[in-house]
């Protein structure tokens, strides 16, 4: 309390605006400094490893021919389900735990806070990708040694890019739903409905109605991402992905950000 001054103004010359990088590092810390956050990260890592071990055991026992991509696909199940939950929670926990009051008093620009959160999720996505690539490579080599089959890598660089997109899409969609509802249970439930119920409904609709089967790829973001998972996406698949992404990612994100900017923080 030594710098208190008696002039009727604030001397702000010594305190530059909080650097964006610092906001990002704080947001990263917030993802793992609570029991819930830490266990979610541990659960993602543990489940990923578990899936990989089971997959390895099955393919070796049954002598199935698998490739590098198959291991990536196996790991995408736990990561694809749980990373978006992290995305939802990174925004909703600020509201359910009411820490948004502190966050937005320390950084009044809410858009900067949102951007820092998104970048922190991007960092986690890259981290998940690196871990995924290392584990899948290790599994692939081990598979070759244990099964005696030839080791197939495919185009690793392309797959790495596709899986990064998958993780980023998953987290960003989770974040968008979180921002839209500002409520953890609602955000998570709606995300799961969107990612597990909707694709089935879309497929059913496409099977029953011819016109809908033409529309479906343009609006089914989940199914469109299958092209990234198996590495077969091309031409029109990208167009589908972009259009469906605008509907399920960009739109809720825009509305969510608008909502956070205007919301009264209580």
């Amino acid at each position: 309390m030594s710098t208190a001054v008696t002039t009727s103004g604030l001397d702000v010359s010594q305190t530059p605006r909080t650097p964006f990088g610092r906001l990002v590092s704080v947001e990263l810390r917030k993802l793992s400094d609570t029991r819930a956050g830490r266990w979610l990260l541990i659960a993602i890592a543990a489940l990923t490893l578990l899936v990989l071990v089971i997959q390895m055991w099955v393919v070796v026992a049954q002598n199935t021919h698998v490739t590098f991509n198959d291991f990536l696909q196996g790991m995408n199940t736990p990561m694809g389900i749980l990373l978006p939950v992290l995305g939802v929670l990174s925004v909703t926990s600020e509201w359910s735990q009411r820490t948004a009051m502190v966050t937005f008093t320390l950084e009044p620009s809410r858009v900067r806070v949102i951007a820092a959160k998104l970048v922190s999720l991007l960092v986690i996505s890259v981290l998940a990708l690196v871990i995924g690539l290392v584990l899948a490579s290790f599994a692939n080599v081990l598979y070759g040694a244990m099964s005696g089959n030839s080791v197939v890598w495919g185009s690793v660089g392309k797959l790495a890019f596709f899986y990064l997109l998958l993780y980023v899409f998953g987290m960003a969609t989770g974040f968008a739903f979180g921002a839209l509802f500002l409520n953890s249970p609602a955000g998570i439930v709606v995300y799961f409905v969107y990612s597990f119920v909707f694709p089935g409904l879309f497929a059913l609709g496409a099977a029953l109605m011819d016109w809908f089967s033409k529309l479906q790829p343009w609006i089914d973001f989940n199914t469109d991402q299958n092209g990234l998972i198996d590495g077969t996406i091309h031409g029109k698949g990208w167009a589908h992905l972009v259009v469906a992404g605008l509907i399920w990612l960009a739109l809720p994100l825009a509305v969510g950000i608008w909502r956070i900017r205007r919301a009264e923080v209580k």
Partner: protein, 314 residues
């Protein structure tokens, strides 16, 4: 330092804050008083940009809060001590704050020490904190960035008497060093001892403002009263009556409509031993507070007790 001008905040047809203006000066503690729901919290939330005003303006040091770079270093804010992630430890809450503001982490230890949270308590999760401990943590968080302005909403809430005493000393000291303090309370006695100026708010409107003395003058209509207790109250009462100073029994003593000095003079003349002599308007301030805010009290038929012969000044 803090300037509120014509501030109004409406929620639909409900007006939470109704055209209020006031100023908080450096080196002073301003008490913001009113019953629950009077608009204190809403006003403070508008100050720090968490709630947009419907009309009017708030500036801090001539700036809008959102334009202050790294605001935690200039304005310490505690709006709700319970608004912390229940799963974080107390220390982690401060560490996040220190990191955001770009402060060395030793500052966290300093603040923990200042608010008397020991190492073991600081490692516990906020979920397991009592309200008093959360309040201490909140005060530590507000002071973290060594700000020149403090905005505290009900900081004494949940603190034990020793804690309230400690906080008074802390804020007084802070203001003496040139800081600007605005603190709200719904309890008069929490604030009246340290506030240089008090602003009474009810139903979103400012109903009275001024220093303790100014408010007291207004409260008693300019007539001073004295509370006096002596070894022979009956004799004193008679002596006062002879001098034309009406006295009425109040608790173990007398309430006299006169200045304490006049009462003391009478007692000295008659050689009556006084055991207690003081200005009796403290009750008047409390009464004023209750009357001014009565229309906003939740207890519909609430009427302040006429004379509680208050022997204590809290």
């Amino acid at each position: 330092m803090i300037k509120v001008e014509g501030l109004t905040r409406a929620y639909g047809s409900f007006i939470a804050v109704d055209d209020i203006s006031f100023e908080c000066k450096p080196g002073t503690v301003t008490g913001f008083l009113g019953p629950n729901g009077a608009g204190k919290t809403t006003t403070m939330r508008v100050m720090v940009g968490l709630t947009p005003p419907t009309r009017g303006d708030v500036s801090i040091g001539g700036m809008k809060y959102r334009d202050i770079p790294n605001p935690g270093r200039h304005v310490g804010v505690l709006l709700d001590a319970s608004a912390q992630h229940a799963g974080r430890t107390g220390r982690e809450v401060l560490e996040l704050g220190a990191r955001t503001m770009g402060l060395p982490l030793e500052r966290v230890d300093e603040m923990l020490h200042l608010v008397s949270l020991d190492a073991r308590e600081s490692k516990r999760r906020v979920r397991n904190y009592s309200l008093g401990m959360r309040q201490r943590l909140g005060i530590a968080h507000a002071l973290l960035g060594d700000p020149t302005v403090l905005i505290l909403d009900e900081p004494a809430n949940g603190l034990d008497p020793a804690g309230i005493h400690w906080m008074r000393g802390l804020l007084k000291q802070y203001a003496d060093k040139g800081g600007t303090v605005l603190l709200s309370s719904h309890l008069l006695h929490e604030v009246e001892q340290i506030a240089d100026e008090m602003i009474l708010i009810g139903n979103g409107k400012i109903v009275a403002r001024g220093t303790r003395e100014e408010l007291l003058k207004g409260a008693s209509g300019g007539v001073s009263t004295t509370l006096v207790t002596s070894l022979d109250n009956a004799a004193l009462s008679q002596a006062l009556a002879e001098k034309g100073l009406p006295a009425a029994p109040a608790g173990g003593g007398l309430r006299v409509t006169a200045e304490p000095v006049d009462v003391g003079r009478v007692a000295a003349d008659r050689q009556i031993v006084l055991t207690d002599l003081r200005a009796g308007n403290e009750g008047g301030l409390e009464q004023l507070f209750l009357e001014l805010t009565a229309s906003t009290q939740r207890e519909a038929d609430f009427a302040p007790a006429p004379d509680l012969s208050r022997g204590v000044s809290a």
